[in-house]
């Protein structure tokens, strides 16, 4: 498959190579047995490694170049996708894909970051770093969904909002701010799935929802570990330490009350099996939507408000408070 091998996967790669070398020759029973033995060992080793990834290793998995992006989820989970482009103000931003689709025969809106798989696509998609147009397009589609009472699914996977001159000139901060505020009062269900990197404000701008799901090896952070290390230690090389400190893994975030549910990934990470990953996510999306649909629009907006209103309680200490 030409899969990128992550540092900590080196033992897996070595074993894989050993298996491949055996398969090259004419088969005999001894070799078959050996292959079977090694394959079992490989599975065990993979399970072992992926069951205790460090935060920094998780960051690498979350950023894996073969990780499924929104277009992959659209392919495996939705039907009849019709893409909607442009913000009707300035331009079209391919870093965010939006459109209409059907989820189990139900018309819904889909929004998500697309990072791009090969170099050409990566450039076109700007590595999933959206410009103001991307956020404004997303809001436009969300408002349309609201108008026609269609639920919204958001797939979040971005290093962050694009930090460039034109993005600033066209109001990157304003675009994000407005999205965050407006998502708080959209009346239809909004289901958010963080499927890779939840990169700060650029992620949050499409991540204010009724349920925040996060995939097992995804991250969600206020700043990239590299950025954090560069500021705190003036050394981006200490990103590993920063990744530990930032508490950006799915389990950390669940503990802090910032996400609702962790969606398990196939052993070895979502990048190893897109279809299976999507199937595993499917159940969670269905259930989250069901829960949100039980509310009236007023109740839903209130519940969403209270959900974010509570975020941070875990870090507050009240002394002789007013």
């Amino acid at each position: 498959m030409g899969m990128d091998i992550l540092d900590f996967e080196a033992p897996l790669a070595a074993l894989q190579k050993e298996i491949e070398s055996l398969t090259g020759y004419p088969a005999d029973a001894g070799k078959e047995r050996e292959i079977a033995r090694l394959s079992t060992k490989l599975d065990e080793m993979r399970r072992e490694i992926y069951s205790k990834l460090t935060p920094w290793q998780t960051v690498q998995v979350a950023r894996h170049s073969q990780r499924p992006y929104v277009l992959d989820f659209i392919e495996h989970l939705f039907t009849g996708f019709v893409e909607i482009q442009g913000d009707r103000r300035f331009g079209e931003d391919p870093a965010i894909v939006t459109g209409m689709a059907w989820f189990h025969d139900k018309p819904v809106a889909v929004i998500g970051h697309q990072k791009g798989r090969d170099t050409k696509q990566k450039i076109r998609r700007n590595f999933g770093m959206a410009r103001p147009e991307g956020y404004r397009k997303a809001l436009r589609v969300m408002r349309m969904a609201d108008k026609f009472e269609r639920p919204i699914f958001c797939f979040v996977d971005t290093p962050g909002a694009y930090p460039g001159i034109e993005a600033e000139e066209r109001g990157q901060a304003e675009a994000i701010a407005v999205n965050i505020r407006e998502m708080a009062r959209i009346r239809v269900p909004i289901i958010v799935a963080v499927t890779g990197e939840g990169g700060s404000g650029g992620a949050l701008a499409v991540a204010v929802g009724d349920e925040i799901l996060i995939m097992e090896h995804s991250i969600y952070s206020v700043i990239s570990p590299e950025g954090c290390a560069a500021i705190l230690w003036k050394d981006a090389g200490r990103a590993e330490e920063a990744a530990d400190g930032l508490k950006l893994t799915a389990t950390d975030l669940l503990e802090l009350g910032l996400v609702d549910r962790i969606v398990p990934e196939p052993v070895g990470g979502a990048h190893t099996a897109h279809r299976q990953t999507a199937q595993m996510l499917n159940k969670y999306l269905v259930e989250a939507l069901e829960r949100s649909e039980r509310f009236s629009p007023e109740e839903r907006v209130e519940a969403r408000y209270q959900k974010f209103r509570r975020m941070g309680e875990v870090g507050l200490e009240v002394r002789n408070g007013s």
């Binding site: 930090p163 460039g164 990157q172 994000i176 701010a177 505020r181 930032l246 507050l316 408070g321």
Partner: protein, 309 residues
Amino acid sequence: MSWFKKEKAPLAPIQHSRMPEGLWTKCKECSEILYTKEIVKNLNVCPKCNYHIGLSAVERAKSIFDDERFEEIETGLFSNDPLSFSDTKNYGDRLSRSKKSTGLDDAVLIARGCIDGIPVVLAAMEYGFIGGSMGVVVGEKITRAVELALEERVPLIIVSRSGGARMQEGAISLMQMAKISAALARLDDGKVPYISILTDPTTGGVTASFAMLGDVNIAEPKALIGFAGPRVIEQTIRQALPPGFQRSEYLLEHGMLDMIVERKDMRKTLGRMLRFFTQSVKPATGSGSSTETDSSTSRSRVQKEESVS
């Protein structure tokens, strides 16, 4: 590597400065040596070059409210260092040092008082407290300020001065953007006015949430305002930034600000806007609090001021 050497480091954020203490003070912008008392009398603005030296939250509150009078509210909230974060220093130590040096619980002061006789709720950010960064306490206090403004139907003013979300509280800080913005959506639905004042510097998650969401967004002159910091942008695009990039004047030119207002004119400008918002459409009643101001007195103040100025 750029072809041309930059003459000076572009757009380094203006150094945080406290109220000048010595008898003489050198202006950071124009290097003029100035009599300190003269600067203080001038609201911490350089009389020579009009450079707006940063104000502490308390100084800001004084500079905005009538007769420099206000009541601090929503106190007694502290961060418990939820991530047990440590870099070159323990976050806990940073917090206690900042508490001591600023006299505040965290990086924002919430106060009530009057501007031109009209009662308002003010949130003023304190840059001296870990760069004015927004963590749980800032998030909670500003949200409470928004909710109070909505409940009492009193205009809200937030003065931003912040590097953005506080790294030491991780994603919890990030979510404060959503918490405050969601509250602002309700304030908006409730038709209670919100004036955002952006001062030097306002960047990151603060700009990308409440600072850009005012019914009116005002900046002080030459303030650094942006989403990404200038250094991050330079590293990303690997070229020098245009002159004046991310300064108030640049943002105004690009349609991202409603106006730039000098400090000496701020109170007057705010007073006029508050009257626009509250005067006839929604009488400024219902506050039911200690302030005795009502729409009729603010109206009389309008006429009085107009005849004077």
